[in-house]
Amino acid sequence: MTARISLFAFCPVELLAFHETSVCSGSGLVRVVMEGFWAVFFPVLRVWFTCLVVLIMLPAMFGISLGITETYMKILLKTLEWATHRIQRASRAEEILKHSASNGLIQRDNSSLEQEIEELRRNRPKSAERGDFTLSDVLYFTKKGIESIVEDDVTQRFTSEELQSWNLLTRTNNNFQYISLRLTVLWGVGVVVRYCILLPLRITLTAIGLSWLVIGTTLVGFLPNFRVKGWLSELVHLMCYRICARGLSATIHYHNKQNRPKRGGICVANHTSPIDVVILANDGCYAMVGQVHGGLMGVLQRAMERSCPHIWFERAEMRDRHLVTQRLRDHVNNKTKLPILIFPEGTCINNTSVMMFKKGSFEIGGTIYPVAIKYDPQFGDAFWNSSKYSMVSYLLRMMTSWAIVCNVWYLPPMTQEEGEDAVQFANRVKSTIAQQGGLVDLAWDGGLKRAKVKDSFKEQQQKKYSHMVVGDDSSD
């Protein structure tokens, strides 16, 4: 590490020399100014880097903490509490705060179609045949339809969660108007701190982390296949993810570490953002599964592949489900390989619920290690709304939040039981994760973010209703 710093120290000197020769034809005043600038700038840079390395990087790499982040979080908490107080005092009606996202807008009955239509028909004079049609039947569908327009379970999962109380970030300012001067000043200070101090710090850290990942894994890749290689590769991966986590000011609490995924298993977790990978990989090494990308991601993927086996699929291969399952199965059956990390939802959900788990991962066989991840939205919203933000703007938003705070629960391993098919198994795992993380368990498909809902659901309802119209002697 010190070698890198001295390298940096030498570079500006050479730059300076180059600059001198290039502007020697210009006026002497310009030269003096430039010299002065460099003379001030690069010691600052040197101090900056030394601080960075000693105070943040080195401890992060070895997993120790100097307490800087803890102090920062404490100050942050106190400030946010104070801000909440102020907002509470200012808004006489407490309605703004009572309406948290968990309180719905309307209260719905959960009675079935049959029950409701029976009730509607109750007052009608009975006719001879069982089952019939009445003009009032339409009221059931109308009410259900309007209820879903006012509030539905699915569309709200694809936008960021609403906060109970403003956390001094502009982006979460939905219903909170101007309250007081002090609060605005605090918000202004927050903006300065986040954009001018924290953002450059975090970008530097992430850049260092990622480049170390690429360099480290490539170096390890040159080693022959001894046990040392595996150990070194894990070390490199862990260090880089730790640096990246610091680059996001991530505070992670791991629970039930005894249930941590073991080799030859499949780790399954709910998906909120690409950062989930960093969060989980901070505490263990996983084999990643995913599509081959170009650009920066592609560089990372190829580098990681060199030091330990991951599973990257070409786009065309992804469509062949049999091939995918086979490759995953081969990896899992090899008990020396790292556990696979899969997000069965297939897309990012906003961390208030868990949506349908695709059954593909549950058909591989092998032990499933469920993991529940729950972010604290007070400090920063981790959800990636991919239709609204690109990856780069998302990362920038992450790096200008206060911090990322989350809880990770490792749940006891689960295997498919006798007489249980993949879908039922998937649902069982999903409920366990939802229960642990305090998330809503939904059966809807996360793919509804982009795709239209299948017609078969409508047909189911039509069929149920038809039974009520023609009675039990169905014509089909």
Binding site: A93, E95, K98, H99, N103, G104, L105, I106, Q107, R108, E119, L120, N123, R124, D132, F133, T134, L135, S136, D137, V138, L139, Y140, F141, T142, K143, K144, G145, I146, E147, S148, I149, V150, E151, D152, D153, V154, T155, Q156, T159, E162, T170, R171, N173, N174, N175, W444, K452, V453, K458, E459, Q461, Q462, K463, Y465, S466, V469, V470, S475, D476
Partner: protein, 195 residues
């Protein structure tokens, strides 16, 4: 940063909507957030596609008819006022209705207006009559492919026969009201808004 939902809704607008529909201040702001989140094009109005994006509504057999009820004759966009006006039909009926002195004379969520909403679900061409054809079409929407044409036809005929009192083979609004006079429309067509 983008536009914030609440900043586009002024206090005067909220007051007007309150007078017209009877919703409370907090209900209006929350429904505005909902309107805004459905409005993917961010142009202050909802189109039919915006409604279709709600999965629960898309699988409702009468989804298209319900969506249609929001749009005035011949229009493709509904603004927030129109949205609230339609939703106001589903407000529960209270004893102390504050907005009794309205232009139209009756609050939007009265029994008559609720029944009128349901009537319009059947009345496809908005000519204030439910013809046999219209009834058949709506029936077909609700049952899908599970019942044959003949059976459906006989059901429609029987329904019209029972309801029709003036012999024009169509169901008018007053005949419709008579058929549903014993149904607890106030409860069945009201949504329980919290707060």
């Amino acid at each position: 940063m983008g536009s914030r939902a609440s900043s586009l809704l002024r206090e005067e607008d909220i007051d007007e909507i309150k007078k017209e529909t009877g919703f409370s201040h907090s209900q209006i702001t929350r429904l505005y957030s909902r309107f805004h989140s459905l409005d993917k094009g961010e142009n202050g109005a909802l189109s039919r596609e915006d409604f279709q994006r709600i999965p629960e509504l898309a699988i409702n057999p009468l989804g298209d008819r319900i969506i249609n009820a929001f749009f005035p004759e011949g229009e493709d966009q509904v603004n927030f006022r129109g949205f609230m006006r339609t939703l106001a039909h589903f407000r529960p009926v209270e004893d102390n209705e504050k907005n009794k002195d309205m232009i139209s004379g009756e609050p939007l969520n009265s029994r008559t207006n609720k029944l009128h909403f349901a009537f319009q679900l059947y009345d496809l061409d908005r000519d204030d009559k439910i013809s046999r054809d219209e009834l058949l079409q709506v029936l077909r929407m609700m049952v899908g492919v599970n019942i044959s044409d003949e059976q459906l036809g006989s059901i429609a005929d029987r329904t019209i026969q029972e309801a029709d009192t003036n012999g024009d083979m169509c169901i008018s609004f007053s005949e419709f009201t008579k058929v549903l006079e014993k149904v607890d429309v106030e409860q069945k067509m009201s949504i329980r808004f919290l707060h």
